[in-house]
Every structure is written in C-alpha cells, then in structure tokens.
C-alpha cells in the first residue's frame, strides 16, 4: 500500500515536470523571425517594431532592456546567441561588445546618408556598430526652486560650483551609469585631466546624491527633489514636454555627447532579416518615429527632420569627443578607479 501511494506521489511530480516542459516547448516554437534587443524607451521600441513588421511582414520579437543589461545578456549568451540585432542604447556598451567580438561588421548601403559622427563611430568600431541618434550632455534646473532660493541662472559647467548650489546638484555615479561616465570623459577632455579632476572634486561638494541611473537627476528635478541635475539634454527635454518647471542648459564651455548605436549580433540565427532591419533603421522614415514616441534625440540620417523640441545641435558647442580612447575598457577602468579614489572618497 505504501508503495502505491509513493508511486502516485512520484507520478504526480513527474507529471508536473513534464507538463512544464511541454509549456516550454510551445514557447520555443513560437519565436519570431527577428529577435531584437531594444535599448531605448518602450514606446519607441514598440513603434519601431510595428512599423518594421508592417513594412516587411517579418515578425519581430522585441525585448526592451537598458543598454548595460543588453550588453550583459549578449555577453552571457555568446555561446548560443538568442538575439539577432541590438538596436538603441548608449554607444559605450556597443563599443565594448565590438571590442570583445560579440558583434559583427556590416556595411549598409545607407551609410552615405549618415551624419559624420555616425560614420566616424562606425569606423572606430571596425564597422561593428553604427550611430542611429545622438544626444548632447547638459544640465537643467528647477525654475521654481531656483527662484525661491534666489539662485541665478547657471549657464556654464563652472556655474555648478557656486556656493549657493551646495547640496543642490544631482548626477549619476559613473560606475553605474554611462551618462555620468560621459560627463567624466567630457570634463577631462574640456579641461585636461588634472584640472578636470579638480573640477569634479569641487563639484563633489555640491552634489547631494550620486544616483544609480543616468536619467534619474532629470526626474528628481521635475519632482523638485533637487535644484540642478546633470543628464543628457533629451532626457531633460522629456520632462519639459511633460510640463515640469525645468529649464535645459547647454553648457557654455562646450559639452560631450553620446551616440546611440545599433549592432548585429555575432552568430545571429536570422542574419538576413537583421540586415534588412539594419538598413531600414538607418532610413529617414524609420528615424522619424523617435520624436513621435517622445524621444528627442538627434537622428543620424541627414534627411530625417530634427524634432522641434530637440536641443538644437547648432546652439550647442560640441567637443570633438574621442570615442575610441574614452570608450576603450582600459581607459574607462583607469578613469573610474581614479574617480573612485580621488573624488568619491572625499568627505562632503
């Protein structure tokens, strides 16, 4: 009798396990014809997916993750890649993946239509990643708070060091956020390494919090949790469009920028479709979709209309950002550990 019960119990367990694996098989078969990892906001990802499906009839399975998460996943899956294309997200992880050979080179027929910065990045990465949009770094401030605290309008990076802004500036931690690393690299390139670190040490006194995510300071400004915040200008613009009392500033000394990129995954199972998507994503029609989805970056195709809300690149003094040097993992490690030891460990 005992064994009969045992048998029933064991069979039930086996049954459950089998049923589950059936479930998994069903899921596995239903995979689409193009698997995309998307690194921008959900709306934009969805808009791209549906537009491409409508245009080509190729079914897209899209998963949205932050750029760092996509990189970690692509690296973990390297032995048996799941994705075909990685579209969007800040350039650093794309460059890193290119350096490690996780992505493959491709020359799209649309390359001639692109802005110089997009082509330059493509060349620097040995043709493994291409720019699809760019956004300049800047800062913003909460106008209501600035008024009540009687803080004059900050216009330059240097203005963020003012004593009135003590504990009023927010920026992300460069260890966790690509945005903040862009700031680090930008300051070093504008002021030189020694003076740049002097600046960052002085800024440290005014920083109330090093956030984890790069766009968090923009949100904190909108909610009135901090007076000033450093972030990509398009992230701050999103808050302005959302009617937050925030003003965007393009720093007078000049500023760095990110290049949102696109890469083909090495060993992609649907490489032909991925290339079709690649070519399509570089066209003006596809790049127009960003502005509709409330993302105000500057598109890389010359003929794409720049959204009116986007920060005008002509009004911004852009520095000649050396992506090859500051995107390499050796230089990044060196700068980050220097920042950790010389800036972050300082008393407030």
């Amino acid at each position: 009798m005992t064994l009969k019960k045992t048998f029933t119990a064991a069979t039930m367990l086996a049954g459950a396990v089998t049923a589950l694996s059936f479930m998994s098989a069903g899921a596995a078969q239903a995979q689409g014809e193009l698997v995309m990892y998307c690194g921008v906001q959900e709306e934009w990802c969805r808009a791209m997916t549906t537009a491409f499906e409508r245009e080509t009839g190729i079914k897209v399975s899209m998963t949205r993750k932050s750029a760092g998460e996509v990189y970690a996943q692509v690296k973990a899956e390297a032995a048996n890649p799941r994705a075909d294309i990685w579209w969007g997200g800040t350039g650093d992880p794309h460059m890193q993946a290119a350096e490690e050979g996780l992505t493959v080179e491709y020359k799209s027929p649309k390359m001639s239509e692109l802005q110089d910065w997009a082509v330059r990045q493509w060349e620097q990465s040995k043709q493994r990643t291409v720019g699809i949009y760019s956004g300049a770094l800047g800062f913003g401030y909460n106008t209501e708070l600035a008024q009540s605290k009687k803080i004059g309008e900050p216009k330059c990076w240097a203005d963020l060091l003012k004593a009135e802004l003590k504990d009023e500036v927010q920026v992300a931690d460069p260890n966790s956020s690509g945005t903040a690393y862009t700031l680090l690299a930008t300051i070093v390139q504008i002021m030189g390494e020694d003076k740049g670190f002097e600046y960052l040490k002085a800024l440290h006194k005014n920083v109330n919090q090093y956030t984890k995510s790069g766009a968090a300071p923009a949100k904190a400004m909108a909610l009135g949790e901090t007076t000033a915040g450093i972030a990509f200008m398009h992230d701050i613009v999103t808050m302005v469009v959302d009617k937050a009392p925030v003003k965007v500033v393009a720093p007078c000394e000049g500023t760095g920028y990110e290049i949102g990129s696109m890469s083909l995954i090495k060993g992609a199972k649907n490489m032909d479709n991925a290339k079709k998507f690649y070519d399509w994503a570089l066209t003006a029609d596809a790049q127009k979709l960003g502005a509709d989805a409330k993302s105000y970056q500057v598109p890389s195709n010359k003929s794409t209309p720049v959204p009116p809300q986007a920060p005008k690149l002509s009004d911004i003094k852009l520095i000649n950002f050396d992506f090859a040097k500051y995107g390499s993992s050796a230089e990044r490690k060196r700068l980050l550990s220097k920042w950790d030891n010389e800036v972050k460990s300082l008393p407030k």
Binding site: A9, M23, S24, M62, G68, A222, E225, T238, L336, P347
Partner: protein
Amino acid sequence: MARATLGWIVLSWVGFALLPWYGFERSSAATIADYFVSGSALVHGFRGAGWLLPILVPLVMALIPVARPSEQRQATWLVASGLLGLALIVLQGFTIGLNGWTLDILRSLFGEPGPSQAGMGYGAALTSASFLIILCHGLAARGWCRGDAFVTSSIGVVIALIVVFVFFPVTTILASAFADNNGNFAPYEFVTKFLDKSIWGLDCLSSNLRCGVAWNTLFLGLLVGVGTTALGLAFALIATRTEFRYKKLLRVMSVLPIITPPFVIGLALILLFGRSGALSAVLWEWFGVPRSRWIYGLPGVLIAQLLAFTPIAFLVLIGVVQGISPTLEEASQTLRAKSWTTFWTVTLPLMRPGLANAFLLGFVESLADFGNPLVLGGNYEVLSTKIFFAVVGAQQDQGRAAVLSIILLAFTLGAFWLQHAWLGKKVYTTVTGKGDAGIPLPLPRRVALASYFTAIPWALFTVAVYAIIVVGAFVRSMGRDYTPTFEHFLTAFRVERGASGFYFSGSAWDSFFATVKVAALSAPLTAAIGLLTAYLLTRQRFSGQRSFEFGTLLSFAIPGTVVGVSYILAFNVPPIEITGTGFILVMCFVFRNMPVGVRSGIATLSQIDKSLDEASLTLGAGSATTMRRVVLPLLRPAIVASLVYSFVRAMTAVSAVIFLVTAEYNMATTYIVGRVEAGEFGLAIAYSTVLILVMLLAIVAIQLAVGERRLGRRSASAAPSPVAVQAIP
C-alpha cells in the same frame, strides 16, 4: 520487486526508446512523428549519435532484477543501474555541446570540431528522472532511511533539483570571481577585488567619510531583521491573543506591503517624505520644519524595507504564536506566576524558533532587496545594487559582481549558523496528540500595550502609504498635477471590441497574462518542494542533513541579478537549454522562493510532536499517508504562508528576471521598471494597483482552498459559530 520500481524501469525505457531525446529547434514546428520513436535516443544512437548507445547498458541492468527475482542482489543491481545511467547521461551531455567537443583536451585528442548535439528534451528528462528514482529505490531496498522508498526518493529528487537549478548555475558564475574579464584563471585579481577599500573600509567610525559597502549592508540587515521581527510579533500577538476589534483589518493591512510591486513603496515614500512630498509640505507650512532630503539614504531604505518585510515576519510568527499550547501557560499561572512572568519565561521562549526564523528572513530579505535601495538608497550603498551595477554598469565587471556575491552569500550563511547556534537542541514542541484543553491567556498589560503602540501607528502609516499609491494611480502626475484621470489605466489595460470578440489592446496585457501564468504555476511547486524539504529536515535523520539544509538556503542568499546572469550562463547551452522559455522563469522562482516554504515549514513542524507521526506509522500508515493525513493538515499555516509568498514573489521579483524575460514572457515588474525609468510614475502605479488587486484575490483564494488548521482547543467564548466556518476543509 515493488510495483513502483517496476513502473520507473518501464518509464526509463519509454524515455529512451519512445520520446524525443533532444529539444526541438525553435524555428521549425514539430510533427507528431518527432514526438514518437523517430526522435528517440535509440534511433539517434543508430543514426550516428553513437555516444547515446552506452546508456542501454544501465537500462538493461535495471531489467536484471525484474527477470530474476533473487532477493539478495536486486537492490545492488538497481543502485548500480541508476548510478551508471545518471553518470553516462551527464558525461555525454557535458562533453558534447552545440558546436562539438566542449573540452580542449577532447578537441586535441579527437580533432575539431567533433560531434555536436542539441539540448536535452522530454526523453532525456524522463530517463534521467527514472534513473534517479531507480537509484533511490535501490538504496531504500538496501535499508537506507529504514527502507522507506518514499523518503529516499524525496531526498533524491530534492537534492537533484537543487543541484541542477541552484548549485550548477551558481558555481558557474562564482567561478568567474577567480577569472579576469577574458575568462583566464586569475586568483590574484580575486584577492585585490575582495580586499577593496570600498567594501571593507571603516572610515565612517573615525571621520565623516563613508563606510565600506559590506558594513552598510550588514548594519541595514540587522536593523531590518530586528525591526521586522518586533513589528511582526506585535501584529501576531494582537491578531491571536487580544480582543482587538479590527483584527481582520489589521491582518489585511499587514499583508498589503508584501503584495506591493517593487519601487512602488519607494515612490510612495518619496511622494510623502521627499523634499517636495505631501507630508514635507505640511510640516513646512504648519510647523516650519525645513524641507530636507533625509529620506534618501539609510532612513528611507530602512522604512521601505520594514514596510515591505514585516508581513513575512508576521506570517511566520502567527503560525508559531497560534501553535503555542496554552497548557504550559496555564501550568505557569497555576504555579502562581504573574502574567508578565509567564509571558517572559514561558510564552516568549516557546516562540524562539519563530523569532529566529522571522529574524533570519528579515535579515536575508534586506540583504537581497534591490528595488528599495535603488530608489531610496541615495549615497548609502548596499551590496545588492552594487552587484547589479557591477554587471550592467559602466564597469561591466562580472568578476567583481561575483566577488561581491560571495561576500553577500557569506553574510547570509553566517546568519543561518548563528540562528542554529541560538536555537540549539532545545525542544519547542507544543502541538501534541494529548488532550489539550487550555485557553490562550490574555496578554500581560504591558505587552498588550507595547504591541498596540507599535502596531497601530505602523498600521496607520501603512494606510497613508497606500492612500498615496491609490491616489497616484488616478491623478495625472503625482506631486505636480492632481487632475483626476483614468488615462493610466486606459493606456495599460484597454480592451477593445473587435470583429472577432474582445481585443486586449492595452500595452500591459501581454506582461500581465505572462506574469499571472508564471506565478500560478510556480506557487504550488514552490510550496510542495519547500514543505517536502522541511519535512525531510525535521522528521527524518540522514547523513549530510546539515549540508542539505544549507543547499536549500543558498539560492535565497544569492542576489537576484547574480541568479539571473547565472541562469543564462548555465541554461543557454546544451545539455539543459531552456533560456527564452517560461519554464526557466518558473524554475527560477521556485528555487528562489523555496527557502520561505522550508523555513515556515520547519518553524511549524518543530512545534508538532513527533508522536503524532509515530502513532500514524504504528497504525500501519506509510510515510506518504502520514504526511498527507496527519502532517499536512497541521501544516496549513505554513502551506498558506509559502503559497502566498511564492505567488506574490513571482509577481513582484525584479532583479532575477531582468535577464530572463523575452518578448513572449515579459514580466509585469520589468514593464513597471521600464515605466519608472521613463518617469511615467502614474502608469507604473496604476499597473501596480491592478497587480495588488490580483494578488489580494489570489491570497483570499489560497486561504479558502487550504483552509485553517483546527487544533483541539477551547475558545473562550462558547459560541459555536466559528466551528461551522472552520469545518470547511
């Protein structure tokens, strides 16, 4: 030969000769023929995959005892067959991969690239499971565990599952602690990373610098552990030992935080206490308290974690408090002890297993928590977020993440050892089969007052937090624009009426359905495996029990991010290739949440006298029957706790699933994280309220389905009505 053993031998043949040995390619649809015979290991074996044929040897070996029932050597044949079968399957699985040989030695010996094979399918799974059970039956026949095949099989199955879904992935990733970024062995790097000042620095004691992240984490964990245990005890005492009028309400409210998706409590706290938060505004305008940023940092994370984890302590403690036999307390009173003395020397010591478990869970949860420190941490860094950003941040240093995980793991396991040492070998049995006619004593005055004074303000605070959440879902933009709107719900959950019935066009529906499905599948599995393990740990004696217990805790101790990455590393390539499926999500949840089932099971079981089981066994019932008819009904509080917990955690976990979600199986939480990142707090909160409602319904359903435990105790009022309610199974 037992019928069950025979059955498993048959199943091992079915798995080998009939069912498809390999998983299917994703792109092509399988036909019926693929399911039967033609895809089986036998056919593959003769068509070139010759390495599958040796598995026939153990299969035949298992048949020998069937053919020749000579009692003496039967067991030995079964054990040998099971061991050899498992060894062969593992060996061929790990040496022959998707792209040929997996080991360099084999490549140089036999040439590149060598044979290749896909991931295992149903056939391989069934045959492996059968070999395992055959092995366990053989061991039982050799007299292990008093010859109880149910016990040996259970131990075998639990160990096998833990090895496959915990040890295997975790060792994969922890090995990277000893490697540099290119995968080469580098022990020196491990030492440098491990001794880093940002981890162990003690500067905050002597100056105004920050302390190392390890101390931060430990300090927060201790505070949260003590705090949740105290609050949970206050709630549990009020709910079971007082005449408090709003008990039901208190219970519901104390459970609310556990069913709240991550980020939401943090967001609500910011909207209340942030610099421009609602309460801060009131304090500033009425009392002139300057607005400040105090919520960001230790205070904020502490409050959020206390809110989030008190319910776990409550769920553990309520079962324990209910289980304490009033007889002992009555005895104490008869001996003229004052009610305070009784509480302090009898009631409280009897609660020790519950208190220790509640503390352990609070501590471990705080260590593993990711959402709250992310939103509220400010400059107070803890290991879990640090690990996450070591993987996905600008450093992209998986080795560092592994080192930090090892530290986190060490803390958790340390807490586990301490708890064991504290509980010692004392006996906490209070539920026995003997006539037990006590009435629970009313609480001593000061304990009751203390409980009220802790619990009621806390409950009111919880209400305030949830009021903010509900308001946030229905206004345009919390904190800025309080125009009422349904816009967030419409965006997420729009249902349109199309030509062919209803069409779910809201953007949240996909992730919503996937989440409910995964949660509903993983909850019963988690509870079953967790309670089975608890039963084995408390009721059976076998060698290696301690390390077994350790293994069950391991997955809980490891931060979600690490689990997520380790699952990809381990399960993306053959032999077990399950990434991108719903199955991997279910398994991830089952083994992450199982420890709660185990802990609450152990806490409840250590109160139940073993003589109850023994009586059942003496009367001729087997282990399985005893478990079903005697132990399980007494375990109802633990069943409810683990079912509720695992369902809820499957719906609210973030960090583990970020790497496991796919287009098909997108989880609600990753959707919410995306919304929070985009600054759409309204939509995030609206989705969360819907999830909260679903989870409330699920909890009520679980309570109804499992029912309450009936202990033979008188109630103070002789009203018969509660009995009628409780009679429902």
